[in-house]
């Protein structure tokens, strides 16, 4: 006769991680189903940072909504702003002057570097390397200083306006940006010296959280995650906007699609950003910084979808106008939200410790996941 089943017979354990957990990079709650150390499945609970950004848009004018988009992916506020401005300009069928386009590219790429640096620092911290975070924040500070001098704000910058820029560049802008580039490139080598060949780093990241190119497409995953899986796709090249077609740069890719490859891709991307910034600074055209934007923005009835390559992936805006001064609908296609959906697939069969590595490598910002 077999004894009655006891709780010891059950091998599954449900573990709650977050919402207040340092390695979820914000308020993300992940419910893990475990068999010992092995992860059998996950369920993400979202919405802790939900502010109803899309609803707010419908109750503001087109111009008033512009600063709100900075609060979604607050690590890359300038990218958000660029995407929104491009979307509204598309609806208005508005041409942006070359000078404004070049300055936009410079600031957006600086912001990409800042975003990748914050990712690198915190990701390394999650894995257990304390040092890089200090270096990363030190260099990120330099980009923030440039933003501050340019528009007065460091994080949620509201740097661009529909039609171009509000501010002319400050005295010595080009020089400072160039100095940053000169200073920054050797620093990337330094980070790599700390991490790339490090045995613990490799041990924790290699073959962890593999996502193949096909899986990426199935899940709609974009950005560095897609490129690390060997798909050479970057919206800046595929469908250039804001004058990216004028600059020479490569799309870094890797083959395995594991956490280590995603690290390598992002490191390369920072170098490519420097390349773009240098070319853009050297060729800022003279001229006006504002296009022929109307004083009151009233796009004709219609809709458009415009997307850009944000540091996290494809950031899209689907905007609908009913011909009034307020947006009828603004839909944000958030790269973090959609990339996070692949978490379950990436973790399957991994260990609890890998969960932290994988959340880190997805580079999500909860402000954008929840909006």
């Amino acid at each position: 006769m077999t004894p009655d089943a006891t709780f010891l017979d059950s091998t599954e354990l449900v573990l709650n991680m977050g919402p207040q957990h340092p390695s979820t990079h914000g308020v993300l709650r992940v419910i893990l189903k475990l068999d010992g150390e092995k992860v059998l499945g996950t369920d993400c609970v979202l919405g802790y940072l939900h502010r109803g950004v899309e609803k707010i848009a419908e109750n503001r004018t087109w111009a008033q909504f512009n600063p709100y988009v900075d609060r979604m992916d607050y690590v890359a506020a300038i990218s958000n702003g660029l995407g929104y401005c491009l979307a509204v300009e598309k609806l208005l069928n508005l041409e942006v002057p070359g000078r404004a386009q070049a300055v936009r590219v410079i600031l957006t790429e600086l912001n990409r570097i800042g975003s990748h640096l914050l990712w690198l620092g915190t990701h390394a911290l999650d894995i257990g390397a304390i040092t890089p975070v200090f270096y990363c924040f030190r260099e990120r500070e330099a980009t923030l200083n440039i933003f501050e001098k340019y528009c007065g704000a460091r994080l949620t910058t509201h740097a661009f306006r529909v039609g171009g820029l509000q501010y002319e560049t400050y005295e010595g802008f080009e020089k400072e940006v160039n100095e940053f580039c000169d200073m920054f490139l050797p620093k990337v080598d330094e980070y790599e010296e700390l991490l790339t060949g490090n045995r613990i780093w490799i041990g924790r990241l290699k073959d962890v959280g593999i996502l193949t190119g096909e899986e990426c497409k199935e899940y709609g995953v974009t950005g560095p995650v897609l490129r690390a899986a060997g798909v050479k796709w970057d919206l800046r090249k595929a469908q250039p906007y804001s004058g990216y077609e004028k600059y020479e740069f490569d799309i870094p890719t890797c083959q395995n699609g594991d956490t280590y490859d995603r690290y390598m891709v992002r490191m390369q991307e920072m170098r490519q950003s420097v390349r773009i910034i240098r070319q853009a600074v050297a060729s800022i055209p003279e001229g006006p910084i504002m296009g022929k934007a109307p004083k009151v923005i009233k796009p004709p009835v219609g809709e458009a979808y415009v997307s850009i390559e944000a540091p996290k992936g494809e950031l899209g805006y689907y905007v609908v106008s009913d011909g009034s001064t307020q947006p009828y609908r603004v839909r944000v296609r958030p790269p973090s939200f959609i990339n996070l959906q692949a978490l379950d697939r990436m973790i399957a069969g991994g260990l609890v410790a890998d969960v932290v590595a994988i959340i880190g490598t997805l580079d999500i910002v909860l402000g954008e996941v929840d909006r």
Binding site: E54, K55, L91, G220, E314, Y328, R371
Partner: protein, 168 residues
């Protein structure tokens, strides 16, 4: 400027295959979109994926037009890596209509459809896990509907869960 007919091989192929289930194929501001009858959206998505390489579902979203008999626009945006081309598929749904889920075609649609359900109350038939995603599970109302005021809250939920009286 109004939308103009979208003249391309793909548009012709689609019309040939789906006949009058495709209501419109147009271009506006250089962006192509297809309007289909509600029951044709999923077959069109599937056709685009399998026959025309549109293998990446970019987004699923909705727009509320309360004064129209078909109250909702349901919008799918797909992209093809091979063609470097984007197409929007739109359908018009009356209130209460349950469109078929597209999760069977694109896995991405899982969370995206959950969000549409959460925000607009559109229920997808055959969705594997149709729960709210951003709002709390017990929340009443769907915030992105036009008749949902920006000041409105689920007062009962706020009182029970946050133990405060809402000031709004």
């Amino acid at each position: 400027m109004a939308a103009t007919p979208w003249d391309s091989e793909l548009a012709r192929e689609l019309k040939e295959r789906f006949g009058d289930r495709i209501i419109e194929t147009s271009t506006y501001l250089g962006q192509n979109f297809i309007v289909t009858k509600p029951d044709a959206a999923i077959p069109v998505l599937e056709y685009l994926k399998l026959e025309a390489d549109f293998d990446y579902l970019v987004d699923v979203t909705a727009v509320d037009w309360p004064k129209r008999p078909e109250r909702f626009d349901l919008v799918y945006i797909v992209y093809s890596f091979a063609r470097n081309e984007r197409v929007r598929i739109k359908t018009y749904l009356p209130e209460g209509f349950k469109p078929e889920s597209s999760v069977g075609v694109h896995l991405t649609a899982n969370w995206l459809e959950r969000e549409v359900y959460d925000m607009f109350g559109i229920q997808f038939a055959g969705h594997p896990d149709l729960r709210r995603i951003l709002m709390p599970d017990e929340w009443q109302g769907h915030p992105l509907r036009k008749d949902y005021s920006i000041l409105r809250q689920d007062q009962t939920w706020v009182r029970e869960n946050l133990e405060i009286e809402s000031g709004q």
